[in-house]
Point group: C2
């Protein structure tokens, strides 16, 4: 797509499954905790060959969570939510997602049995909220057969506590595995302004290759990092060689095309 | 607002200015770089007394950037964008924001003069793209009188390179300074399920206080961290004492109410 004189936007082949992440938590937005779950999931999704298209951090607000999750569910193949799942007043994710999809909360009998079995005579009433899920939700079991992940359509509802989030995602991640991508990098001693025409030419010649250009001002040995990535190894290799030969001896370091996620 | 039997959602006094952050970058979503600018801005906005309500990370996609920035501009008092500002093909933030606001890109004469003065005889054509801004944009000068921040209405358009992002924000941050909040914490040796009724009571009694409950499973000396926060020191102190006296000796550690951002 042309966006101005001489400018093109990379048109990335979209045969990878797509994903969005919704982080629910006042505690992130107010800086009480550093965000860890999206940071973790970025690497996981990349290794699985899933194209992450959006991360949104929203507050503990029913309407906002409802609208944001529904929007992501319509746009992407998978949505992962983090946080707001538990027994206290600020745990409103299940109610919000139910509202977003126009359904209500129900107490799931399988989950209720698990909650009662886990706490036994120490069960507090509020713990039973862990068994409340949107009507129509599925329980997704991985290798850990004790606590499933609750999913409504393509939305996977995960806890916000980072240790639990990681454990649960790793448990079910194989179901998301898709095709790997090929990635390569060039570190060049050329300013971005001077580099732009060469990049434009490669972008035009190899539309399936996503090319990123990242100036760095605190590095001594290079000025710009150029990244290349795409589903076709041939195209990424072709773009890589075309760009490397244009820049010539001012390429400082090369990281050759290789498959990621295999 | 009631969201179910016995459940209330904190109704936070909304006299603080609000903000949203839009991070533009395939490089974040694909894991090439860790996100640093939102992480930095969270702490800055908190210290300034600005209520951060949303962070969205979007890809280098014209339509997506345009729609996301416009949406945030309508919802919040301030919007900060990071990334996609520069001379190469993937730098489409200015064009996208112009499109979102129904305007076009123009070459700003003041910026063009600065660009020409900076590069002098080493100027590459592509560098002049740094002078292209949405029609109607303002140049916001801080203490650094060389490179201003480009702003369109309430949208402040910042570079993605973390060293530049930080320097530019620090340069202009005083204009965003608002009222401080009061914050306090309790570390308690009570499970969340058991804690829930006490929290509900405090939430009902002190609606202006935002109360967060965060279970931690890897800590030895406490089970849940409870955070309290609000614009009124009296209300936060009242909520803090009410909760502390309910929990009694099972409060492991107290962090007394104090003003943040003064």
């Amino acid at each position: 797509m042309s966006i101005g004189p001489g400018l093109t936007m990379p048109c990335y082949a979209r045969d990878m499954p797509t994903a969005g992440i919704v982080i629910i938590g006042d505690e992130i937005l107010s800086g009480k905790f550093a965000e860890e779950n999206a940071a973790f999931l970025i690497g996981e999704l990349r290794a699985l060959g899933v194209d992450l298209r959006r991360i949104t951090v929203v507050p503990d607000d029913l309407e906002d969570i409802a609208a944001t999750v529904l929007d992501c569910s319509r746009r992407f193949d998978y949505v992962f939510t983090s946080g707001g799942v538990g027994p206290t007043h600020d745990d409103i994710t299940m109610a919000a997602i139910a509202k977003g999809f126009g359904t209500t909360i129900m107490r799931h009998p399988d989950l209720e049995a698990r909650v009662r079995g886990y706490w036994k005579d120490k069960l507090a009433d509020a713990n039973l909220r862990l068994a409340d899920v949107p009507d129509g939700a599925e329980l997704v079991y991985g290798k850990d057969q004790i606590w499933p992940v609750v999913a409504l359509k393509n939305v996977f509802i995960m806890p916000g506590v980072p240790t639990l989030f990681r454990r649960k995602f790793v448990d079910i991640r194989d179901r998301f595995r898709a095709e790997p991508v090929t990635a390569a990098r060039l570190y060049v001693d050329v300013e971005e302004g001077e580099l732009a025409p060469s990049l434009d030419a490669v972008v035009a010649r190899y539309p399936s290759v996503k090319i990123g250009s990242y100036p760095r001002f605190s590095e001594k040995d290079f000025k710009v990092l150029v990244t290349l990535e795409g589903p076709s190894t041939d195209d990424v290799s072709g773009a890589f060689e075309m760009l490397a030969s244009t820049i010539g001896p001012r390429v400082i370091r090369r990281e050759e095309p290789q498959r990621v996620g295999e």
